[in-house]
């Protein structure tokens, strides 16, 4: 029983770290722009396909393919900001950019469906089958270990960047008050672009690591993104620490709900949690003074 619990705990952390990578991007963008990028999901999917094609069609190394996915993701983030968010920013509408990116998402998803087909791709990472035995009969595959280590390192780096570098501080300044930050000589447009690039690079990375553990179809990102929204809200929109905690928590809750209740009901559990959170604590786990958004 303990072994099963431990094993589910490990699996939960693996998925939780992936959720954190994807959700952090959404939260960062929301932090500086107060906007939602719905096409974030498809950047995850395209990252996964980029890694797949690099490894299996061009015969590249899987670990290098994660780097490729990061670059592809960053480029897409730049494109989405330049094509959608920057032109719409002047109009100052709250909902139009979200609606436009829903369109981008539908477009990308179905273009991929036409191109790659609906049949799931077998993305067997060379690390998926090698197992490290841990105490008491539990185990972890190399792939899952890579996911945990790479995510943890990335999240730590990002955190350090936000906390200690000049640029990170400028980002947080823009997130807190864009106008005042502008008066202090920070160029908000550049920082918004930087945020999009970082956020989408994280999404691409998430995709490359998610490909081997999830079913790789053109819809892989979409099933994830709705969950990422739930995580972002549970953690508090724009709140990095809250998002990390909520992402890991959702991974663990899912993992145990699959084991204890019924795999079909995990989504219901997660989204009921989301609605309860919205009803009773819409500011998220860690409350911030951001009432104007609620």
């Amino acid at each position: 029983m303990l072994t099963v619990a431990l094993q589910q705990g490990i699996n939960g952390i693996v998925f939780g770290s992936l959720y954190v990578l994807v959700a952090l991007g959404l939260t960062l963008i929301y932090g500086v722009l107060v906007q939602i990028n719905f096409a974030h999901a498809d950047i995850v999917t395209i990252g996964a396909f980029a890694a797949y094609f690099f490894t299996f069609v061009f015969g590249g190394n899987y670990l290098v393919s994660i780097g490729i996915a990061v670059i592809v993701g960053a480029a897409l983030g730049w494109l989405v900001n330049a094509a959608i968010f920057a032109p719409l920013r002047e109009r100052g509408s709250e909902l139009l950019p979200l609606i436009a990116t829903i369109g981008v998402s539908i477009l990308l998803q179905n273009a991929m469906l036409l191109w790659f087909g609906p049949i799931p791709y077998a993305f067997d990472s060379p690390y998926s089958n090698e197992v490290i035995r841990l105490w008491g009969g539990t185990f972890i595959t190399w792939q899952n270990l890579i996911i945990i280590v790479v995510s943890a390192l990335t999240i730590a780096l990002l955190y350090a960047f936000m906390k200690f570098t000049m640029m990170g501080k400028a980002l947080r300044a823009v997130a807190q008050d864009r106008e005042t930050a502008g008066l202090m000589g920070i160029n908000p447009n550049q920082l918004v672009m930087l945020t999009f690039v970082i956020a989408s690079a994280l999404a691409g990375m998430g995709g490359a690591m998610l490909g081997p553990v999830l079913v790789l179809t053109p819809f892989a990102g979409t099933s994830l993104i709705v969950k990422a929204f739930a995580i972002v809200i549970i953690g508090g929109f724009g709140n990095v620490e809250g998002t990390i905690i909520a992402g890991l928590a959702v991974g663990l809750i899912e993992s145990f709900a699959t084991q204890l209740i019924n795999p079909g009901l995990t989504d219901i559990v997660v989204f009921t949690l989301l609605l309860l959170m919205l009803a009773f604590r819409p500011t998220g786990l860690i409350a911030e003074k951001r009432e104007e958004n609620v």
Partner: protein, 336 residues
């Protein structure tokens, strides 16, 4: 008679003409399209019109971004069908119950989300749609899950003494029925929008705080608009089930919400004629493009993005621009 009143009178006169033309067109459509494929498309068009004007009432008039319209569509479809199959309730009572239940669910979600604005409501409604879809999939003893419900009967025949029996197994009659209801709902919303209620909703959409300071109860009207829109989706759901004859949960996945949203935006959010045109265009256009492959959703995605970027007022705005250009043309030519 003040000039404003005269303008209104002439506008309402014009509207009456347009309604009459629309009735004639709707009446002749099934005669023009005799094959079952295009007749089915006509019915889908009418269903989409009901869905789109309902969503537009919530989004364009009350300013609430509802990404879960598919959930209310599904609730109406499943509730009415299950009432008929499991409890033997007559169709029209089940239809009304499905509508009422969808409306109630919409009001509940709206009431619950009344403190939330914009993005939060969008995600709450998205979450609600995921939950509804998952419940339909997993509550197998009630909904038969992914296997679906089969052999759902069309609405019962209407027999008026002295007239031939009206059977809804006939696709032309089914189209008249759904289109008739679409018409009814359109006129109803049109009246609502022009009434003081419509003005209250517009005030809330523009600025909730100042609306409240004028004594408008924002909560009540937002919940009302949400309930109204989702009840219409419920009606469409009940018709959908009886028209298609089978129900599977995947007919009501969140992508369906996005396609309805695309119809509203492409047509012109915040007008009632816009979503009607949007629904018709986005139902017919992909069918015409069928030869190129399954481009349906690619068209939806591209249309949605391009319209938001370049013509945020949708087809209604585009038509206005074209009309203004045409009106300018003769003047420009006489000047030369």
């Amino acid at each position: 008679m003040s000039s404003e009143a005269r303008l209104r009178a002439s506008q309402s006169g014009k509207r009456r003409w347009w309604l009459l033309i629309a009735i004639v067109v709707v009446a002749t459509l099934p005669l023009l399209f005799q094959d079952s494929y295009w007749r089915a498309n006509l019915i889908v068009c009418a269903l989409n019109v009901i869905l789109a004007i309902g969503l537009d009432f919530i989004l364009g008039y009350a300013g609430q971004l509802n990404l879960g319209h598919s959930a209310f569509y599904g609730i109406g479809a499943y509730a009415s069908t299950l009432l008929i199959i499991k409890l033997g309730v007559p169709f029209w009572i089940a239809f009304a119950a499905g509508m009422a239940l969808s409306g109630a669910a919409g009001m509940a979600l709206s009431l619950f989300a009344v403190r939330l604005r914009g993005h939060y409501l969008a995600i709450a409604s998205l979450g609600f749609a995921v939950i509804v879809h998952q419940v339909l999939l997993n509550w197998i003893s009630l909904t038969q899950g992914p296997l679906g419900i089969y052999a759902i009967k069309p609405p019962p025949d209407i027999a008026v003494p002295g007239l031939p029996i009206l059977s809804f197994g006939n696709s032309a009659n089914m189209f008249y029925l759904v289109a008739g209801f679409a018409f009814l709902f359109y006129v109803l919303l049109d009246q609502l929008v022009r009434s003081p209620i419509g003005e209250a909703l517009a005030a809330i959409r523009e600025d909730e705080v100042s609306a409240a300071s004028f004594g408008i109860n924002c909560t009540v009207w937002k919940v009302f608009a949400f309930g109204m829109g989702s009840a219409l989706a419920g009606a469409a759901g009940a018709f959908y089930a009886s028209f298609v004859g089978t129900l599977v949960p995947d007919a009501f996945i969140i992508t369906e919400s996005f396609t309805i949203l695309a119809m509203v935006i492409v047509g012109g959010m915040g007008t009632l004629t816009g979503p009607v045109w949007g629904a018709i265009l986005l139902t017919v256009l992909p069918e015409l493009l069928r030869g190129i492959g399954d481009l349906r959703l690619v068209v939806y995605g591209a249309a949605l993005t391009l319209v938001v970027l370049f013509v945020p007022g949708g087809m209604v705005q585009a038509a206005r621009i074209v009309r203004a250009r045409l009106a300018c043309l003769p003047i420009a030519s006489t000047r030369q």
